[in-house]
């Protein structure tokens, strides 16, 4: 399997996932038998493997241990794609609509952040969010001091008296917001669509096994439909997801409220084909390049991206991140 393999037909696949509001449908689908149902339909076996550490799950995918992984758009670009692994984003699941935020203690506005040291996971979407936030008030990253803080420890770190500002995502964000004196001064709701949560798979694998994409799309939209129901069944599904995430149902619901889920495949297809996604990816890409994440590349164009309708960004000869809406399209057309 993995990046080195010649395309081959296979029937068993491993998908890595980690805990995040927008990705909880996957493990729930596995638990509820939805995965098995769709996999059986296409004669496949799909294993969803939990990785507690998000970065490790992406690294494992990059190293070829997983056929697919749940990942943000920025990390998909900077880890596998920049590393030369041809990757296809086949499901654009949601965008963060407040799930990421900038918090400060002892201040009401974002400008109060000037000169503070900010705890965040460096080089992650938090870093990007901070850069975007600062640009809205005419500041840049040089106006603050960033302190790399692991996502597992950021809640406790922010609780310490030493920390006066932080950038985090949910579920940590929601706990941190609850701390005395903490205030959210910027959130991803102010930059909708720039932080996308995806399911990506190895391009060669999906080319050789299109049924995998169909099954995954089937799983995803059936699960989303179920969890969107405002009845007892929907509630039960969400409660199960909360439990899988180690959260209470209430806190999970509040996390969902700041997640814009593309539960309608048509909307997802439209978003993936829209010009905004290219604008957003260009922003993300330029930020990543400026932070040195395209190892040794001479320009931000070194890593090529492609979008539906044969549009490309960057080096068209070296496209390694492909937004592929064909499977979402099948779902939209009801052809699964």
């Amino acid at each position: 399997s993995g990046q080195s393999s010649v395309p081959e037909k296979r029937t068993e696949f491993n998908i890595g996932w980690s805990i995040y509001a927008g990705w909880m449908p996957w493990p729930y689908a596995q638990q509820a038998g939805i995965v098995k149902k769709w996999a059986d339909k296409y004669g496949l076996k799909i294993n969803f493997v939990q990785v507690n550490d998000y970065v490790e799950s992406v690294n494992q995918y990059t190293a070829g241990k997983f056929d697919g992984v749940t990942v943000t758009n920025m990390d998909a670009l900077t880890i596998p794609a920049a590393g030369g692994k041809d990757t296809s984003a086949i499901i654009v699941g949601d965008y963060s609509n407040g799930n990421d935020g900038v918090l400060i203690k002892g201040g009401d506005t974002l400008s109060a952040i000037k000169g503070k040291s900010v705890n965040l996971v460096e080089l992650s979407v938090s870093h990007y969010l901070l850069a975007r936030a600062l640009s809205t008030v005419g500041m840049s990253l040089t106006d603050v001091k960033t302190v790399n803080t692991s996502d597992a420890d950021i809640v406790a770190a922010f609780a310490s008296a030493d920390s006066s500002a932080a950038v985090a995502w949910n579920p940590q964000l929601s706990v941190m917001k609850g701390q005395a004196g903490a205030r959210e001064v910027f959130s991803s709701a102010q930059i909708p669509g720039e932080i996308l949560d995806l399911l990506v798979v190895d391009t060669a694998t999906i080319k050789a096994n299109p049924n995998l994409g169909k099954a995954l799309a089937g799983i995803w939209y059936e699960t989303l439909a179920l969890m969107k129901q405002q009845d007892a069944k929907g509630k039960e599904a969400r409660a199960a997801m909360a439990k899988l995430a180690g959260a209470t149902p209430e806190s999970f619901d509040s996390q969902l409220s700041t997640t814009y889920l593309y539960s309608d495949p048509k909307a997802a297809v439209t978003a993936t084909a829209s010009p905004e996604i290219m604008t957003n990816m260009k922003r993300v890409r330029d930020f990543s390049f400026s932070k040195g994440l395209f190892k040794g590349a001479a320009s931000a164009d070194a890593v090529g991206m492609s979008f539906p309708g044969n549009k490309t960004l960057g080096d068209a000869q070296r496209v390694t991140l492909r937004f592929d809406s064909s499977f979402m399209q099948y779902a939209a057309d009801g052809k699964l």
């Binding site: 805990i19 638990q31 493997v49 939990q50 990785v51 507690n52 550490d53 490790e56 690294n59 494992q60 190293a63 241990k65 996502d151 597992a152 420890d153 809640v155 406790a156 609780a159 579920p171 940590q172 706990v175 609850g178 005395a180 199960a240 439990k243 180690g246 959260a247 806190s251």
Partner: protein, 271 residues
């Protein structure tokens, strides 16, 4: 009577030993109560009541998927990993400790390598470890083994190499070859030290277990601690840590007893 000569009696020893631990518990309660008067919602130092309710879900409700009680499932999974890791490390430490300790050429050849491995922080190489071994049990157990074995090996090597030269000479005059010296002279005398090395390795072993479970796992004491850490659920973390400490202390006592029972000659004070 000089303090160096005061040997507390068995009962007194237990009492004395309990003293500072009870004092610490009381200190915790006072601090927690203080924080709660300031902020009744404080999550950092939960009161016992909060811990009870925090734990009750994990202790009483079986998991929907597996039907198991989460707490026991975590304990079992972690103990299995720890036990396997510790067993493998001990075996390696014994074999390498004897071979390196008794045979100078082997020590010269492999000693520097062991030192090198001992000082490389395994968690820095986690990506390679997980990529080489996958995310399953193997990788977790390997992390424990890689983490604690080198220190144990070096400890046993030093102990065996420091056996009185007379004993090695004596064994040879009795006709022993290198192999026989290893199994009849070095092995039995290394055993009490090995148990002591296991005791000292218990702490680090738990650290590595928890690190491994923090990264890739879906059950285990360390997994649970890292899972709820996202919500700063100290009401679960503290009981879990206390439970880990309790398990570790039980193992420590068992190892001490094993050493006293099995190798009385090493414990009786000679004169």
């Amino acid at each position: 009577m000089r303090w160096v000569n005061r040997q507390p009696k068995r009962g007194d020893r237990l009492l004395l030993g309990a003293l500072p631990i009870v004092a610490l518990l009381i200190l915790y309660l006072v601090l927690a109560a203080q924080r709660h008067t300031l902020n009744p919602l404080d999550k950092i130092l939960p009161l016992p009541g909060a811990m009870v309710s925090g734990m009750s879900a994990l202790l009483l409700q079986p998991d929907q998927l597996s039907g198991q009680i989460v707490f026991w499932a975590d304990t079992l999974a972690s103990l299995q990993r720890l036990g396997l890791g510790l067993a493998i490390s001990t075996l390696i430490a014994l074999v390498l400790g004897l071979v390196l300790g008794v045979l100078p050429p082997v020590r010269a050849t492999l000693g520097p390598l062991v030192t090198g491995i001992a000082v490389i922080p395994p968690i820095a190489l986690l990506p390679i470890l997980f990529i080489a071994l996958g995310l399953g049990e193997t990788a977790k157990i390997t992390l424990i083994v890689v983490g604690i074995t080198p220190v144990m090996v070096r400890d046993i090597v030093a102990h065996v190499a420091a056996l009185p030269r007379e004993q090695i000479v004596k064994a040879q005059t009795l006709g022993a070859n290198s192999w026989q010296i290893m199994i009849r002279v070095a092995l039995p005398q290394a055993m009490p030290r090995l148990l002591q090395a296991m005791r000292l390795a218990l702490g680090p072993a738990w650290v590595f277990l928890i690190s491994a479970e923090a990264i890739a796992s879906d059950v285990g004491l360390g997994y649970r601690i890292f899972l709820v850490r996202r919500y700063l659920s100290m009401d679960v973390i503290i009981p879990y840590v206390a439970w880990i400490a309790l398990l570790a202390i039980a193992m420590d006592v068992a190892l001490t007893q094993a050493s006293r029972r099995g190798f009385a000659w090493a414990h009786g004070a000679a004169h």
